[in-house]
């Protein structure tokens, strides 16, 4: 009855729900990294999208130049990009912690231009294709839709990583140091914890999450220099809706907005690019701290 009212067959809705969850898991994994970095380091990392793109490109280079397969890249590429990220943090960002947010934002925006410009120069805007790993080719026919194996894998992998990160930060001893560091870094240092090193490692963790998502994205999308720029704006909206710095908020909001976007593509495709920002505006009006944010 409801479906008849909507004028859309139920199969289409289930399919879009699933697709939305898959896309949402990308948003979740990316916004999680952003939330970790903002929550712990107080830096609005605009370069997050560029590092996601770098993760995808490093995977492509590993495959193309060294014949290293997807599965190894899934670990290697985040490590390589995280090392690069930590160097950035040491050299550049660590000098900005005590300044206003806008300095971090501008510095990381500059980094975006540098990183994207470099890849554009090397590979052109069309980028390169990355093959789907052999074991994940094909898919299941679920009756209401054809679900590619690889997309199912992405959903599971991204969610596993998201909840792993959440568990690490909220439920382990090291995680409790991290949270303590955001409350009062000097006190924590007095207890003998090396806070600057912890900050560097935290930034590395956030960057590794971005690069990991990039590797996951490589077989689905064309690996190209602008892929990060396309997605980063949406991810920022996710973080704002979820509440800046809230880990759980980033994960739940990422999934929910992915689904909202999927449904919009059925009912009014022209608005699919804007629906997330409409939701963001509404949330900001009603609850400026975000759905999961604390004042």
């Amino acid at each position: 009855m409801l479906f008849e009212l909507l004028g859309v067959p139920p199969q289409a809705l289930f399919a879009q729900l699933l697709i939305g969850l898959v896309n949402g898991s990308f948003y979740a994994a990316l916004s999680l990294g952003l939330a970790v970095i903002f929550g712990m380091l107080n830096i609005i990392n605009f370069a997050h999208g560029a590092l996601y793109m770098a993760g995808a490109f490093v995977a492509w280079m590993l495959l193309h130049h060294f014949g290293i397969p997807f599965w190894a890249s899934l670990v290697l590429s985040p490590l390589i990009v995280a090392v690069f990220g930590m160097a950035l943090e040491r050299v550049l960002l660590s000098r900005l912690y005590h300044l206003d947010h806008i300095y971090g934002l501008l510095a990381t925006f500059g980094l975006v231009l540098l990183i994207e410009g470099t890849f554009r120069q090397l590979y052109g805007v069309s980028g390169r294709g990355y093959p789907t790993p052999e074991v994940l080719k094909g898919g299941w026919n679920l009756g209401f839709m054809f679900l590619p194996n690889y997309r199912a894998f992405v959903l599971v992998a991204a969610l596993a990583v998201c909840f792993g990160a959440w568990f690490f930060i909220e439920r382990t001893r090291i995680g409790s140091y991290l949270r303590a560091g955001t409350e009062n870094a000097r006190l924590l240092q007095a207890f003998g914890v090396n806070v600057p090193r912890m900050m560097t490692l935290t930034f590395g963790l956030g960057v590794a999450l971005a690069a990991f998502t990039g590797v996951l994205a490589a077989p689905i999308y064309q690996v190209h220099p602008l892929m990060g720029f396309n997605i980063i704006i949406i991810v920022f909206a996710v973080v704002v809706v979820g509440g800046m710095g809230s880990i759980l908020g980033a994960i739940v909001t990422g999934l929910a907005l992915g689904v909202a976007e999927g449904f919009t593509r059925v009912f009014y495709p022209e608005a699919s690019a804007t629906v997330i920002f409409v939701i963001m505006a509404v949330v900001l009006l009603i609850r400026p701290q975000g759905l999961f944010g604390r004042r």
């Binding site: 896309n23 805007v125 069309s126 064309q222 593509r265 495709p269």
Partner: protein
């Protein structure tokens, strides 16, 4: 009424014929296109290089002064493009603006150039409106247009029996125009259009749209988009099993740089229409190798077209002995486009350069001898058959 009209035309004639001295000031050409966004590989700095080659091959000088070349990135924004075009025409003494990637930009600059009696040389914007309701007495449309793409690809596929279509359309002037022209061709050939879905420009995920295309149960999915949008749609259509379940894709606008980027594995067997392929004869190979040496990739039809159009324009200005628009346009129409691209093509009154188009099939990985060996020409479509007849365009500057 009648008398008024006669007086007005006499006045207009007087005004336009005002300065009887030929305008022999230095010639300046601008290349305005996307140099950083999704269309940067298929036009971008490659088109700038092609323009530079045209000026060099012409001899570099006209009326005793060097020919100047300027270029700028419009980032696919019609507002930014208009600002740059205005500044070029009004302050920088630019005579002609070439390339003009993205149909939205092309339409905006067409109008600016028309108002100022300057030249708009379209080698990239695809919409067939440029020689239809938006035509201009000083606008030329060189390499291809949405009608020719539809005419080449849709005609061949419907004739094969692929008679039901669903479109994935980029939601701006170009996509709409391509969808409209292709849909009209499908119906004219006796096929049926089952529906269309519009996606934003520079979209990443096509899965939702592909589901809708799948649900339509059409035999063909027409991709009325370009560049990375088309590439992502092709990749994801394979991923979601549309192709293995029997639906076929028609990439209505695909460039050789796109094939290079996506790889033959994903692109094999696609049928498409192009205005140029580098490996067609001696002349195309010779020029393309020169381009490849300078840019590191083979030229697209836009880049080759930019060379051809600018060279022809310069020849016409030289032959006319003035930059006066009417005289130059007359020469451009009178002279055949005798280069590797035009192959004896000619410029029509509505601004369309009529030349042969090619229906090609993308090779399988095993058939290709190496990088850039991507197309097999299955049919040469004679120019007069490829492009929309002038009477159907509705260009108001065409005298019948």
């Amino acid at each position: 009424m009648r008398l008024g009209l006669v007086c007005a035309s006499a006045l207009a004639l007087l005004l336009s014929a005002g300065p009887s001295v030929a305008d022999k000031s230095p010639v300046k050409i601008g290349v305005l296109n996307d140099q950083s966004g999704l269309y940067a590989d298929l036009s971008g700095l490659g088109s700038v290089e092609a323009a530079r080659m045209a000026i060099e091959d012409f001899g570099g000088k006209l009326f005793g002064a060097p020919i100047e070349l300027v270029h700028a990135d419009h980032k696919n924004r019609a507002d930014l493009a208009s600002t740059i075009a205005r500044e070029w025409f009004d302050n920088s003494k630019v005579d002609a603006i070439a390339d003009l990637t993205a149909s939205s930009v092309a339409l905006a600059v067409q109008e600016l150039a028309r108002e100022r009696s300057k030249f708009a040389i379209h080698t990239s914007g695809a919409t067939s409106r440029l020689t239809g309701d938006a035509c201009s007495p000083t606008g030329v449309h060189w390499a291809y247009d949405t009608y020719a793409l539809a005419n080449g690809t849709a005609r061949a596929l419907v004739a094969e029996g692929q008679d039901t279509w669903f479109f994935l359309t980029a939601d701006y002037a170009f996509g709409h125009s391509l969808e409209k022209d292709t849909g009209a061709m499908v119906e004219k050939m006796g096929g049926k259009v089952l529906g269309a879905v519009r996606h934003p420009l520079d979209n990443q995920d096509f899965s939702s749209y592909l589901m809708q295309a799948q649900a339509s149960k059409s035999k063909m999915i027409g991709l009325a988009n370009a560049s990375s949008d088309t590439l992502n749609a092709i990749r994801q259509a394979k991923e979601f099993g549309l192709v293995s379940m029997g639906q076929r894709l028609a990439a209505l606008l695909l460039f050789i740089t796109d094939i290079h980027a996506v790889g033959l594995e994903a692109a094999q067997e696609l049928v498409l229409t192009t205005g140029f392929y580098w490996d067609r004869d001696e002349k195309t190979r010779a020029w393309s190798e020169r381009f490849n040496k300078r840019r590191g990739h083979m030229p697209t039809m836009i880049q080759a077209g930019t060379y051809s159009a600018i060279l022809h324009f310069l020849k016409a200005v030289e032959a006319a002995g003035t930059k006066e628009p009417k005289a130059v346009m007359e020469k451009m129409r009178a002279m055949r486009v005798d280069d590797f691209f035009g192959n004896g093509g000619y410029l029509r009154e509505d601004g369309r350069m009529v030349h042969d188009m090619y229906l090609v099939r993308v090779k399988k990985p095993g058939q290709s001898k190496g990088p850039w060996d991507y197309f097999e020409v299955i049919r040469t479509i004679p120019g007069d058959e490829a492009f929309r007849p002038m009477k159907d365009g509705g260009c108001k500057y065409v005298k019948n």
